[in-house]
Symmetry: C2
Subunit: 540 residues, 2 copies
């Protein structure tokens, strides 16, 4: 029996090693087009930035180490150029020798990954992209000689490249076509990310479309020129399906190879895993592209199980992801508000600004968290977080709660490890649960930053319950100041039956709302307070 | 309607503030024996150590701030000395005025906390304990003048006090009666904690019983003297039930006030929350004492809901806890192996030593993780972790998985946020799931460090699959060295049908085990490898 694996990195190599463990006797051949296998894709930007100093650190395994430990037949610079499904053979081109060979398989695993999107604009051939070690070497060399770079695209890789080129001493303009970087985040959540990039020296240009690239830089759609001696295209990735398409395997409408819950393609002897395949969304079962290493590695392991006859299934995906941006942690899981809104789902959003650990212990910093909740079932639909520290933990906990089927209100009584340097007696996640429970039971009502203007236009009274000093430093137009600690005495000043209260983050607003509630009065607390409103207004 | 709350810190004050939000008109009186309310108990040791510099940082609220914001009637230095259940009154002693007063209640909430255990040994009155701000002031003053301290007890507070006295420039001997500090951890997990304390200069004395205390220090049971001009007793805490007992409320066999899932005591007008009450264990429903701030705060909030007529229930507790020890994170949730063994439960233990983030990204450090799994149902029963970084996150994720009812094997496909500075493509939690799944499906078998000797005595062959260099630096007696990368060729050298393989941590051992498996041969991988074995042997 012979299994051939196409692509020797995350999904492919995880499949090969696991398969070896399960099938000591099977012949396993791994064919890899580039010059390296098992490399740390996710570390490539940091090598360019000099954060990872040694190139060898990126190479986790080599063909010979994989032969010694796992008895794998790993061939780099070998590209699979065709699949003959009827004959169960692949045509392999030796990229150094230039020869072609045919290899038979019993099982074929495709893990070719995703290729960078390269828009068809004049001069695109001047732009570098980042996918493998060869690209990395080219980019690192180019960064050496460069003084000004343009990075096109504000997604994960664009943002990482922007940061790392700064680390490499290059002046960076980052050009993003939409109004915000990091599409998985909603606009009000991304504001600190934009601010951080700018304060770190990145010339961030939103709503800028690059229409051409030439020797001196790029031209934007408005005619504006941005000088650059290095241009990086990081506009996103698309499944590498050339081989699959040529072989007539089913490719879905998202552009990925179609596989079932056993990673089987439309040909039962051929499997597909990783960035090249479409996944099932945990939210609604639809087909989605989730090009993440965790998923690729897991699918690789699962496909080996399937080939070895073990009963396993690949689960639908939530798409939990994180990126570092000049020391900020930016993470998300599940759906965002944009997507919920465009799908017409009934949801509730909750914004908080907790400290990563007890405020009385040195070094605490504030993060922004957002939880999205099914308005009918209380199910957790998604979460986002941005902050200096502790965001990764909260997003992982929420992702786990989602996977475990906990409702948003159940977050209230999660028992999370608390000592003052690590969290709070009411952890930020618990606090999200408190707020969710109040909303779910109808005890409180909130209003989102983007809904406020409509409410005011409809005649709502807006009360700012912060201190006079906070109010003076920046206020929402039309807000009347009554500090929460005076509210008990001054409640009578508020006569309206449509009241919105707000504070800086929502906590004092909640206290005020509970105090001012009375039958017949609609009382809403501005969710996330002034901070979320301000961030939303800024990015919008 | 009047609610009286006894004890104005974690549970008590959370009950009062929530109740105010729910019941704007209710009269709420908080009676607190000490001179302060709403203080950060968990920060007290760090103030003594100078880590928290300002005493005011410990005082989160004051009676006047609570009056202004919440309209609470908060009286410090007021001790409740008796409850007349028939008359629904409490007798309150004004500790400054010396007068006594009687106050009627409709609802009474007891949150008196726990008091330090003070063993009845000669001289115990010389030992200081740490519970409130007054204790803290006394201890901080004593630490100023001290040069040598003895801390009695190696639990959470003892360990924190040991560290903080070192920070305060005092030489510390920490004396623990059992063979290990931090009872929630199993012996092999606590070894790095002992090592860290010792390398930080703590004179750690295990299996030492203090039999008397005098002016010059303490005497141990063996007659040994340990000099000290400051003695701190941190032997544990016990529920403060004096008032409850006097009032004839039911007190359980663990010594805590008995309450139901609505925090109701045996008197339906009286509630109990926090450290003073017995909780239901999430593992087996038994009564347990879990003196933690998260639980106390949550119960306080829940009891307010109950009084306000909201439908809520207090869930059984897992007891997730963490402590910092000179930069080490030491955390646990659920049951430990000791407890499972003594309860006669069928369990599996898994030990791993993963890095907190990708090894190729700078700054990664290794942690030790332990997962305990129900051998029949695959349910997660508990987890422990010790390491420099990222332990809090993994324990919180596992605690959440337990709460969500995920099985140990389900940890394999948790989608956790990955970028190289925050985790691994296969997160340590995923990896625990991989191992659990292999065990649950019978693909692999492991053997624990404490089972190894019996297996060897029974004739098993032990193969060390590490490198010759690793073997030379320290090996298990009787182990035969065959490095994993030579094993493919040298497998024939192993003839036994009872084989135990081991490497440093278990990963190469797993590869070797899968390679050497054959029908009729029992093949076990030493769980956690040499590292766990060595740690266990050291602490045992
Ligand atoms: C710069 C960068 C940063 C990233 N950062 C993160 C991160 O922080 N977190 C995260 O979760 N994910 C990150 N990712 C994504 C992650 O690396 C991918 O999700 C993962 O590697 C996908 O695994 P895969 O096996 O599907 O594809 P890959 O790992 O890309 O492997 C595919 C391999 O197949 C080879 N191949 C393709 N076609 C053929 C053929 N016909 N014949 C032979 N070989 C072929 C390719 O050369 C390639 O090496 C990052 C990716 C990049 C590029
Ligand atoms: C030094 C120290 C460090 C800690 N560190 C941590 C940690 O890192 N993580 C963690 O989770 N937990 C920690 N804890 C435990 C945590 O503080 C408690 O679990 C929590 O405070 C319990 O809340 P409670 O309301 O039950 O009792 P407490 O917060 O102790 O409040 C009880 C109050 O009731 C008052 N009282 C008692 N009897 C009467 C009476 N008859 N009349 C009037 N007042 C009365 C007492 O004076 C006391 O102030 C620590 C505790 C201490 C002492
Ligand atoms: C590293 C790579 C070759 C896979 O190798 P691998 O041997 O499958 O994976 P690991 O070294 O992580 O080891 C995992 C195995 O050890 C086992 N294991 C881990 N800790 C163990 C322990 N303490 N005891 C027993 N077994 C243990 C796991 O169960 C797993 O085995 P299984 O799959 O049979 O269950 C492949 O993932 C790769 O090429 N990665 C680099 C590229 C990449 O991932 N890029 C994207 C991210 S940058
Ligand atoms: C602080 C203390 C007085 C309680 O005050 P509190 O007002 O109940 O608690 P917080 O300030 O944390 O605020 C929590 C409230 O704000 C709400 N909230 C938090 N963020 C919010 C947001 N963004 N929007 C709306 N509401 C929000 C929560 O829902 C909760 O209200 P609820 O209980 O009615 O649901 C009490 O816990 C205490 O004394 N603590 C110190 C002692 C202690 O805990 N020691 C042990 C650990 S060191």
């Amino acid at each position: 029996m012979r299994t051939i694996v196409v692509g020797g990195v995350a999904g492919g190599m995880s499949a090969a090693t696991r398969l070896r463990r399960l099938e000591p006797e099977m012949e396993i051949v791994v064919l890899e087009r580039s010059g390296h296998v098992s490399f740390a894709n996710c570390g490539l930007p940091y090598y360019i930035g000099g954060v990872i100093e040694k190139r060898s650190a990126l190479l986790l395994q080599t063909p010979s180490s994989l032969a010694a430990r796992f008895g794998l037949d790993v061939r780099v610079r070998h590209e699979v150029v065709a699949i003959d499904r009827a004959a169960r053979t692949v045509t392999v081109r030796d990229l150094d020798g230039g020869t072609e060979d045919s290899l038979t398989y019993d099982w074929l695993v495709l893990s070719p990954g995703a290729r960078p999107v390269r828009p068809p604009i004049p001069g695109i051939e001047r732009a570098l992209s980042l996918r493998d070690i060869e690209d990395t070497d080219a980019l690192a060399a180019a960064a050496q000689g460069a003084t000004r770079a343009v990075v096109i695209g504000g997604g994960f890789i664009g943002v990482e490249m922007g940061e790392n080129l700064v680390h490499a001493g290059v002046e960076v303009s980052l050009i993003e076509a939409t109004a915000q970087c990091m599409a998985p985040l909603d606009p009000e959540m991304v504001e600190p990310v934009h601010a951080r990039m700018r304060s770190a020296g990145v010339d961030l240009r939103l709503q800028g479309l690059v229409v051409s690239i030439d020797e001196e830089g790029v031209t934007l759609d408005g005619g504006e020129r941005v000088a650059a001696d290095l241009v990086v295209a990081a506009i996103g990735v698309q499944p590498d399906t050339q081989l699959a398409r040529m072989a007539g395997l089913a490719v879905g409408e998202r552009g990925g190879i179609v596989v079932d819950e056993h990673c089987r393609t439309s040909d039962s002897a051929i499997f597909g895993v990783g960035d090249a395949v479409e996944k099932r969304d945990a939210g609604d079962g639809s087909s989605v592209l989730v090009p993440l290493a965790n998923t690729a590695n897991l699918q690789g392991r699962r496909v080996a199980d399937v080939i070895a006859g073990r009963a396993v299934e690949v689960r639908p995906v939530q798409g939990t992801a994180i990126v570092g941006v000049f020391g900020l942690q930016v993470a998300s899981t599940g759906w965002n508000e944009k997507r919920l809104r465009s799908a017409g789902r009934a949801y509730r959003a909750i914004h908080t600004h907790p400290a990563d650990h007890a405020g009385y212990y040195p070094g605490a910093s504030t993060m922004a968290l957002k939880l999205l909740v099914d308005a009918e079932t209380d199910a957790i639909l998604g979460a986002q977080g941005v902050g200096q520290a502790g965001v990764d933990k909260r997003i992982d906990v929420i992702a786990t709660a989602m996977r475990g089927g906990l409702g948003a209100s159940d977050l209230a009584d999660l028992e999370l490890a608390y000592a003052p340097q690590f969290g709070s007696a009411k952890d930020p996640v618990n606090m999200l649960g408190y707020v969710a429970e109040n909303l779910a039971t109808g005890l409180t009502e909130n209003i989102q930053w983007h809904e406020l203007q409509d409410a005011l236009d409809a005649g709502a009274t807006l009360i700012d319950v912060r201190t006079a000093k906070e109010h003076a430093a920046g206020a929402i137009p039309g807000a009347v100041l009554i500090p929460v600690d005076e509210l008990r005495d001054r409640a009578g000043e508020i006569v309206s039956d449509d009241v919105v209260v707000h504070c800086a983050v929502g906590v004092r607003g909640h206290v005020a709302a509970m105090m001012l509630a009375r039958p017949g009065r609609r009382l809403r607390n501005l969710d996330g307070g002034y901070m979320t409103w301000k961030a939303g207004e800024t990015t919008q």
